[in-house]
């Protein structure tokens, strides 16, 4: 007997080393998961230290190699435009039409082709299955009213000797009614550049200047224009740009010179494939200590423009124009003590490493570290959220690299010289960027598309940040496998004790298919999740509801559906193949949940890394920790008690509404919170077709899947 057993052991011994390694990992799954998770979090915290200095990868860009041609002459003209525009705003009526006319007049005086583009603000609509589809031409409703439309003004400069295959887009959002000095100034900067570009001979790509009518938000006009640019509708419904609702404009048109009128039309004009787009804004707040430039780059679903575009802007702003460049960061993180402490630790470690080998340079000062972390966190957050940080996001949907540049001047513009200086500064920056993009022979492809910024001049590339994610996710399959193995062992052991040997065969065949039962459960919970995530579409159809009531309806409906599903699940039909609830079943259920979570996270990391990363941070601990409450309560030991507490806390935290409220509380203070906020947030998410929305729901029900069963 003993000999046969040793034979068995030796036969098992003959397995391949890799299998043995796998078995080792599985048998020590707890240790592995603790090590991996800690290492993953550490690696994430190390990212600011590991960030590389950005460099301009595409040689053809050659930023700043030519001296700026923008002169005071152009700026004076621009100043005139700014004056004309701002003097208009004092008048009460007809400002929109008149300012539009002025801008169009200025453009066409430069020899540009000018056209107006009418659009209806695209109302926020929830299309349940539109998340990953490319932006298509959407059917315009018949019942739009004539009062509700905006008019973009578009000016196009044809490159003198270019072949018109490519174009660079310059966007200035302008709200003629509410627009302040900042918007007028951004028009001034764009005009000064435009007037220069109308004369230069080096232009190889056409320039499109889009004055986006932002009275219905900044995003809507740009999307509408892009949609008409790329997917116009020739059919009878798409006749928006023609004579409909035209009566308003005739007032101004009559005043216009007949010659100029010929140049300014409502026909949509195009200029080839877009190479890049720049959105220009001026933030007119009197709080800056120096001229600063903020760069916003995140587009929908965590897409980023090519890093080279940010690099040239950064290079030109810092080295040529002496602006202070910043990217968005979480200001609240800047004061956090533990980050500073962590930074100090990393610094000392870096110093130690440097003393060992001077070539190892990864120490950065604690303040840099804190700043880098704050930027990284905001970069991660905005990418994860999937909501673009400006109207540049609309371009990314059409594979056009675009960023928003927000220039904040130092002082107020009571002084005219100061204003001219500012216009010159901004104009030269834009001119430099356009000239650099103009040099480009191919589209942006050299540099990174997948990166996280830790400062305007530093980035973490995909190869580095994926390590952190991989480490966090790694324990999931290990734990799933070990749970599966355990539950099998447990079942066989219990069977041996209880059952007689004649039902053994049946038991064995059933045993191997047992996981299907758990998979079914998980599937039903996911189904519930899918239904709940589709619910807001129907709820939003109900009119005259405050967000809070909407939210409450949503919750109650979800609960109702859960009950129904539970009834169905609990019905005997679903328990045909199940003999008896068994001890090890929860382990099997957990293992199935974990493996589905693993698959989900891995897939998500391909689509949107940041979402997957944050999701993994929230979900992996709970899915690993989860344990049936009944068992723990029965056990009544300190260990099981602490486990219960942990489970409950983690479960609450990773429930999306709770996460949202906590985050909001941390960053904005807890006062003034209400449930409606979450509804608004969700609404904004689906309005942007954010995949995060789907994901949050999936996440939510992933976690609840295990929770529910365990309770």
């Amino acid at each position: 007997m003993a000999e046969t057993e040793t034979k068995n052991v030796t036969s098992r011994m003959r397995q391949r080393p890799i299998v043995r390694l796998g078995i080792l990992l599985i048998s020590h799954s707890i240790l592995v998961s603790i090590i991996c998770c800690t290492a993953g979090v550490l690696a994430l915290l190390l990212l600011p230290v590991l960030a590389k200095n950005s460099y301009i990868s595409e040689n053809a860009l050659m930023p700043g190699s030519a001296s700026s041609m923008l002169s005071y002459q152009d700026v004076l003209e621009a100043n005139k435009l700014v004056r004309d525009i701002s003097s208009l705003s004092s008048k009460p009526s007809g400002v929109a039409i008149e300012s539009r006319g002025i801008i169009a007049q200025y453009m066409s005086d430069l020899g540009a082709e000018v056209n107006y583009h009418k659009f209806h603000p695209h109302l926020n609509e929830f299309h349940p299955l539109h998340f990953f589809s490319s932006p298509g031409s959407e059917v315009i409703q018949d019942n739009f009213s004539c009062s509700l439309y905006g008019v973009n003004t578009v000016g196009i400069i044809r490159a003198p000797r270019g072949d018109g295959k490519e174009a660079i887009v310059l966007v200035t959002p302008y709200d003629s009614v509410r627009g302040g000095v900042g918007e007028a100034l951004s028009l001034g900067i764009a005009y000064s550049v435009f007037s220069l570009l109308a004369r230069v001979t080096w232009l190889a790509k056409d320039i499109i200047w889009l004055v986006a009518d932002s009275q219905y938000g900044e995003y809507a006009p740009v999307t509408a224009w892009l949609r008409d640019y790329h997917t116009p509708v020739f059919g009878d419904l798409g006749s928006l740009n023609s004579e409909m609702c035209d009566n308003n404009n005739n007032i101004y048109k009559l005043k216009e010179n007949s010659i100029q009128e010929r140049n300014i039309s409502y026909t949509f004009k195009r200029a080839g494939t877009m190479a890049a787009a720049l959105v220009l804004k001026v933030a007119y707040t009197n709080e800056q200590f120096e001229d600063t430039l903020s760069i916003y780059a995140e587009a929908s679903n965590g897409q980023m423009p090519n890093l080279d575009l940010i690099n040239i802007v950064n290079y030109l702003a810092v080295h040529k124009q002496g602006l202070r460049v910043k990217v968005e960061k979480f200001w609240s993180l800047l004061e956090s003590q533990w980050l500073r402490f962590l930074g100090e630790i990393f610094e000392s470690l870096g110093k130690l490493a440097k003393s060992l080998n001077p070539d190892w340079k990864f120490g950065i000062s604690p303040s840099d570290y804190v700043e880098g972390t704050a930027t990284l966190a905001s970069s991660l957050y905005y990418q994860a959220l999937g909501v673009p940080t400006g109207c540049h996001g609309a371009f990314r949907d059409y594979q056009v690299d675009a960023i928003t540049l927000e220039i904040s001047p130092k002082v107020s513009f009571n002084n005219k010289d100061r204003r001219s200086d500012f216009l010159l500064l901004g104009g030269r920056l834009i001119e430099g960027v356009i000239r650099s993009v103009n040099n480009l022979l191919e589209k942006f492809h050299q540099s990174f598309f997948l990166y996280l910024l830790t400062s305007p001049g530093k980035f973490v590339s995909v190869g580095v940040y994926m390590i952190a994610f991989a480490l966090i996710v790694a324990p999931l399959p290990v734990v799933a496998a070990s749970l599966y193995a355990d539950s099998n062992d447990l079942n066989t052991a219990s069977k041996k004790d209880k059952k007689s040997s004649n039902s053994d065969e049946l038991g064995a065949s059933l045993k191997s298919w047992k996981w299907l039962n758990s998979a079914k459960r998980v599937f039903v919970v996911h189904l519930w999740g899918a239904i709940v995530s589709l619910l807001p579409y129907f709820i939003s159809q109900i009119r005259d509801c405050t967000p809070t009531t909407n939210f409450l309806i949503w919750i109650s409906l979800s609960m109702l559906i859960l009950l129904i599903l539970h009834q169905i699940l609990g019905s005997p039909y679903f328990h045909v193949c199940e003999l008896k609830p068994q001890e090890g079943e929860w382990a099997l259920l957990k293992s199935v949940t974990i493996s589905s979570l693993f698959i989900g996270l891995s897939l998500m990391s391909v689509i949107n890394f940041a979402t997957a990363e944050i999701g993994a941070l929230l979900l992996v601990p709970i899915s690993l920790m989860v344990h049936p409450l009944k068992h723990d309560i029965k056990a009544r030991s300190l260990r099981s008690f602490s486990r219960v507490i942990c489970n409950l806390v983690l479960g609450v935290i990773s429930f999306p509404p709770a996460t949202f409220i906590l985050l909001k509380g941390v960053f904005e203070g807890f006062d003034g919170l209400n449930a409606g906020d979450f509804w608004n947030w969700v609404e904004s998410l689906w309005a942007w077709n954010s995949a995060t929305y789907l994901y949050i729901d999936a996440k939510c029900f992933d976690t609840t899947a295990s929770e529910i069963r365990n309770l």
Binding site: M13, R161, D163, E166, H230, G235, D236
Partner: protein, 687 residues
């Protein structure tokens, strides 16, 4: 003839220098004899026909403050005997080309920049003949049997490539050229058509082109071609048009007409440096030949039969000037003799024209275009021609447009599929047409569309949709004739020719064709693959409209080759934009990655295979056991424990020899510490 004489005298002087004095006389006699003989021979074979060369320059102010300069050089070679042909003026390279490849008609154009149909007009002969798509366009008709056309085309492209320093030889591949049947030219049998949209055009293409002129750019009108100023312009198109005249047979070579034109649109400098743009918005810039070219005309090319400079005022401009004149001084002369036109106070010419012509208009519109002729013969180095035009009052007009304005664009985004759309919009001309034909209900406007699409843009021709006045129409209703030859992968491009019948009261028309983006083999990508791929310009022409300009009824201008060209009825045609399609491009480091990963996989596979084949089970166990027997010490125990764990085998109990093991472990620890210390020291001092 004069040219030949000049050359022979040069030869004579050279030979005089070389030969002894005594022989001089004989040689001269001989030469003169030969010369006489040859002239007599020529005279006898060909009757009065001689090779001719003429040069002309047409200047025309454009509505958007620019000036069009159109150089026209024509060389004619009459039919002659097949061999022993000597050319006096006609370029030998071209005649050889014509002879060798039996070219019936050929046109080659190098263009930089776009012709702006909306501003510069689309109805006159210049815009329909000389407005070309950016890059190189070549078409040729051959006088050979159908089966040899492709071979001739290939050879021709290579010959032209060498002649003009351009990559015309890329048109050799069958994927780049096409054989349009009827849409490009009405009666084209052996026609081949190809374009290179990406070809950059510069002086290296102009120099060989100038070499074909007898005076090159040393004298005559071509001397105006100051490179920086002509390349600074907004449009630059050099064209070479060959026509074989008369039937060729075994004995007699066909005659050849070589027409070389250079069309440039320039910006007069006065506006360029102007201080304020807004104030001068409506005023036309004043210019002169020296201000736009930086040079003056220092006399004609002596070899040219005629050498003239023309200044043309367009129909619209003349009409506008007449209106202005009427307003300013209510002139009683409404019929306006052509001479009176000079007396307009609105502008001033620095040189008095030799002749003034008025266009003979068949349509009886209220104004006709006016032409001033300046003969270059009167001018020389000391008294150069510097024609200047000074505007005194602002004037605004517009050019005559083609019936429809066509624009083509890409639809959709992403790397998978897209659509090509051609959008036609009526211009003033067709609106006028609508009014005139209001009684005629069955009025139709025929539009000819010719489009070549490379094979990697896989157009689905069945998806053709036509929208007329924003309403979808069945293709059969609108189409009069269509011919499609779908692309074959890596063999031939897709060609679409069609004639549309559009109603006269057209508001807009759109054609829409969907396509899939194909994949290329990695070798087929150009070096700048990420720029995207070009779809050559489509050609839109109007079979019912012909652009022709006739200036004199008495035929005084018929001698001018340029105006006889203008008088020919040519199809009104326009080119659409070139489109840039971004295709999926592979990561070009991919082959390297593939090689690396394949090598790794192979190494792993063969390594483990060899390992398995080589080892024997017993041997391994014995080896392990002996190892275990030898191993002592805490560290080694740990290692063996770990290895046992890895192997999934219970560790054999070891004979405990504590004393020896401790000494061994001491040694080991000492060694390890020593090595570590040395390493740290090394690092500290030398690292």
């Amino acid at each position: 003839m004069t040219f030949l004489h000049g050359k022979s005298t040069v030869v004579v002087t050279q030979s005089m220098a070389l030969l002894p004095v005594r022989l001089k006389l004989i040689v001269i006699l001989l030469l003169v004899c030969q010369l006489l003989c040859s002239t007599i021979a020529f005279g006898s074979v060909l009757d009065k026909d001689e090779e001719e060369f003429s040069e002309e320059l047409l200047l025309k102010p454009l509505p958007d403050r620019k000036v069009l300069a159109h150089f026209h050089f024509e060389s004619r070679a009459p039919p002659s005997i097949s061999f022993g042909r000597h050319h006096h003026l006609f370029p030998k390279a071209i005649s050889q080309l014509v002879k060798k490849f039996r070219v019936k008609e050929m046109e080659l154009s190098f263009t930089q920049g776009r012709w702006r149909y909306e501003q510069w007009g689309g109805f006159d002969p210049i815009s329909s003949n000389n407005a070309k798509p950016p890059g190189v366009e070549l078409w040729a008709v051959f006088d050979v049997p159908q089966s040899q056309v492709d071979a001739s085309w290939k050879n021709l492209t290579h010959a032209l490539s060498g002649l003009f320093c351009a990559s015309i030889n890329f048109l050799e591949s069958s994927t780049t050229y096409s054989a349009p049947e009827w849409a490009f030219r009405p009666d084209s049998g052996n026609l081949r058509y190809g374009t290179l949209p990406r070809e950059a055009v510069c002086t290296e293409n102009l120099t060989p082109w100038l070499k074909l002129l007898p005076c090159r750019d040393k004298a005559g009108l071509s001397a105006l071609m100051d490179r920086p100023s002509i390349y600074r312009g907004f449009y630059h198109s050099q064209r070479l048009h060959l026509t074989a005249t008369g039937s060729s047979s075994q004995e007699v070579d066909s005659g050849t007409v070589l027409e070389q034109t250079l069309t440039v649109v320039l910006q007069p400098i006065s506006w360029r440096t102007g201080k304020s743009y807004v104030d001068k918005a409506n005023s036309q810039p004043s210019w002169s030949i020296s201000s736009i070219f930086g040079r003056k005309v220092n006399g004609k090319c002596v070899l040219a039969k005629s050498s003239n400079v023309y200044l043309q005022f367009e129909k619209g401009l003349v009409g506008e000037l007449k209106n202005l004149h009427k307003e300013n001084a209510d002139s009683e002369t409404n019929k306006l003799a052509s001479k009176d036109f000079l007396s307009y106070p609105s502008f001033e010419l620095s040189v008095n024209p030799d002749k003034v012509f008025e266009e003979v208009d068949n349509l009886h519109s209220k104004s006709t275009s006016v032409l001033y002729e300046f003969s270059v013969e009167k001018y020389n180095d000391s008294h150069p021609l510097d024609l200047g035009l000074t505007w005194k009052i602002p004037v605004v007009w517009s050019c005559q447009q083609a019936p429809l304005h066509a624009s083509r664009f890409l639809m959709g985004s992403g790397n998978e599929r897209g659509a090509i759309a051609i959008y036609l919009k009526p211009t003033e001309l067709s609106e006028g047409l609508k009014k005139s034909n209001i009684v005629d209900k069955s009025c139709e406007l025929r539009v000819n569309v010719f489009q070549v699409v490379p094979w990697y843009i896989k157009v689905y021709y069945h998806t053709l949709q036509v929208f007329v006045n924003q309403q979808s129409r069945a293709v059969a209703d609108v189409m009069e004739k269509i011919h499609v030859s779908p692309s074959k992968d890596k063999i031939s491009p897709g060609v679409m020719e069609m004639i549309l019948k559009l109603p006269c009261g057209l508001e807009s028309a759109a054609l829409n064709l969907e396509f899939d983006k194909g994949f290329l083999h990695i070798d087929e990508y150009p070096p700048d693959a990420n720029q995207g791929f070009d779809i050559p310009a489509a050609i839109i022409s109007y079979p019912d409209f012909h652009a022709s300009m006739r200036f004199s009824e008495d035929g005084s201008l018929d001698k001018s080759p340029m105006f006889s060209k203008f008088q020919e009825k040519s199809l009104v045609l326009s080119y659409t934009e070139i489109l840039l399609v971004p295709l999926t491009t592979p990561d070009f480091s991919m082959p390297y990655n593939v090689i690396t990963i394949t090598c790794t996989v192979f190494a792993l596979y063969f390594g483990s295979l060899l390992n398995v084949l080589r080892k024997r089970v017993d041997e391994e166990e014995r080896f392990l056991k002996s190892n275990a027997g030898r191993k002592t010490g805490r560290l080694s125990t740990l290692v063996s424990k770990l290895s046992a764990k890895l192997r999934g085998k219970p560790r054999e109990p070891q004979p405990s020899t504590t004393a020896s093991s401790s000494s061994v472990s001491f040694k080991l620890i000492f060694k390890v510490l020593l090595v570590a210390g040395i390493a740290i020291c090394w690092q500290y001092y030398f690292g």
